[in-house]
Symmetry: C2
Subunit: 363 residues, 2 copies
């Protein structure tokens, strides 16, 4: 039985592990947290990221290694890649775990992205402020997720304060885009180069955390769909990418701005478990094992609502028709993603109704 | 986190365990086989059925216990039920693990079933032969599955030979029904009495092993559907049943004959993972935890083809559109169920085509 290793053992690894069994695979995760969400469904190597012996144990017997979050220390990724095939590659990881590298990649490929200025020391702030203007967002270049390491700023003063408070870490000052909506696209590419794209979906964030996703995104113009597909194809080819990748966009006046790239399965793709013929999790596994990708055809319309911070009354959710509960087995904590619910409906109108009920139930 | 115990750790327990996580549950299985298919995805108590200490360990901390096959020794079931809630109950188990009890139950409830005669000693054979006629099937009253313990017989001589060969075990002589087709119905009932029915599906057996299922069964008359539903409702109510139950029928001249009752999730319900809004596995868990049952609405048409004895070329299956591979992680062995494939299609015509391709691929 082929063994797949995953760097990181959170809910993404958990859902990858759940998808692995029916393909005849087994999963081993590497995560320093003893209560990693994936540990309940996979072998768990619990050790610090720089534990060389543990990394060696992790790699033993793996068919392929992959990752569930882009902030895996590069040294760990390199150590793994020295022993087994890592997909996506260290190069793809390096290009997406630093916001500056990500922006430069977009620039190089001609993919429109949010305007930014690099801030490496306090003296960079004035220049950045003049270049970007206000309001803006100061973002740490690395280790950001769920809105962490991001601060909205309205003056140079505020940039300096946020910069100091954040530990003077290398950051980007980005234009605060007054977007019409957020969209994302999940795609998969096999080692052999086969590509499968999920449709653009519409996302809603609050406090930096994804709250809900509608799949497919309603009213996407042909131009926007084509632009998203073009950007994705460019990126996949340039990085010789293997696995699932996610591009997050802002849509403004019918144009797309690339906001972030995630070299992994993504929260905005969880609806695919029920809403697509093949889930993003199964397609990621297929991609990294160079197996034929599964169809990404839609199965109805789907809405995903995240469960954040507080566990809901499961019974009330289960009572809703055509609604699917996914808990991650995590202890409740403020701002923590504890699970998600996917509602599926035959059409967008009915979906809208279900989503509203769901959002009420989930507060 | 609630812990569910399952007596038996085969593929049914494996798929129950895979369905458990998103409901925030964990699963522990009891199975004497060290290589039990569910062991990869659940805690595994590996001990003989009569190991009292192991049974006590199995029961510790369980919210509820259930079973994945009806041949669990009654003594084990009783020992479990003395410590934790067992669903379905020992009574339901006793009524379905002995073919004679099952037949008497059907008679009592007025559910038409295959004609039978009881054989407990060699002297019963002549009377049974006169009563049933030939051809007939000699079936062990207990421990039968996948056609084991069943022999087609054409004379009293053959009955006697089969009886001796089978170890002179209590058996039934049943009429060999010249049926038009085999149908089955999977249903779920919660402790509180909520019932959900999946549609009738059409099954094809060869050598006593299920080969393929089509869901929903094509061209079911209203009378047949009503009769199947009526029988199911009667059984569920009479047994005060909790969990998923499966009724297997023969259809002959537009009438139904009950062939077997399985007090558990069933191979002919595996299509529900993709083909129904809620799978039989999730609904079984909901039922035994007295949670609201999920919708059993169809998602397209589905065909399930079993993988038996030999592992297929996975790549060729994965290349088929809208087709879902489910491997059980079991070592190949003649006549052993190693997995199944579900093809889903928007209509019956397209499904027929996919199923043919699939059957060719799977030999």
């Amino acid at each position: 039985m082929k063994l797949v290793g995953i760097l990181g053992g959170g809910q993404l690894a958990r859902m990858l592990a759940l998808a692995s069994h029916s393909l005849g695979l087994r999963v081993r995760v590497f995560d320093p947290a003893p209560d990693a969400a994936a540990a309940a469904v996979a072998e768990h190597i619990c050790a610090p990221w720089d534990d060389v012996a543990a990394i060696a144990r992790f790699c033993e017997g793996l068919e392929v290694a992959t990752l569930e979050f882009e902030s895996v220390p590069l040294a760990t990724a390199l150590a793994v890649a020295a022993k087994v095939r890592l997909a996506p590659s260290v190069r793809a990881l390096a290009a997406t775990q630093d916001r500056l590298a990500e922006k430069q990649l977009a620039l190089n490929l001609g993919i429109p992205a949010t305007p930014f200025a690099n801030i490496e020391c306090i003296d960079d702030i004035e220049r950045a402020a003049r270049q970007i203007g206000f309001p803006a967002v100061l973002k740490h270049r690395t280790l950001g997720y769920d809105g962490r390491g991001q601060t909205v700023v309205r003056s140079s003063e505020e940039v300096r304060a946020a910069w100091r408070e954040g530990g003077e870490r290398p950051s980007l000052l980005e234009e605060l885009v007054n977007f019409d909506r957020e969209l994302s696209l999940v795609a998969a590419r096999t080692t052999g180069g086969q590509i499968a794209l999920y449709p653009l979906v519409e996302n809603l964030h609050r406090d930096g955390i994804l709250r809900r996703t509608i799949a497919p995104a309603p009213d996407v113009s042909n131009a926007v769909a084509a632009e998203a597909q073009r950007s994705t194809a460019l990126l996949l080819a340039h990085l010789d990418y293997t696995g699932v990748i996610t591009l997050e966009f802002f849509e403004r006046d019918g144009l797309l701005l690339l906001n972030e790239i995630a070299p992994r399965v993504h929260n905005s793709g969880h609806w695919s478990i029920e809403g697509s013929e093949t889930s993003q999790f199964e397609n990621h596994l297929r991609a990294i094992l160079d197996l034929p990708l599964g169809s990404t055809a839609l199965v109805g319309c789907s809405a995903l609502v995240n469960i954040i911070g507080i566990l809901p009354d499961a019974e009330r959710i289960l009572r809703m028709p055509d609604t699917h509960l996914h808990l991650y087995g995590k202890a409740p904590r403020d701002g923590r993603k504890l699970g998600h619910v996917t509602a599926r409906a035959p059409d967008a109108l009915l979906l809208e109704e279900r989503m509203k009920t769901l959002q009420q139930l989930l507060g």
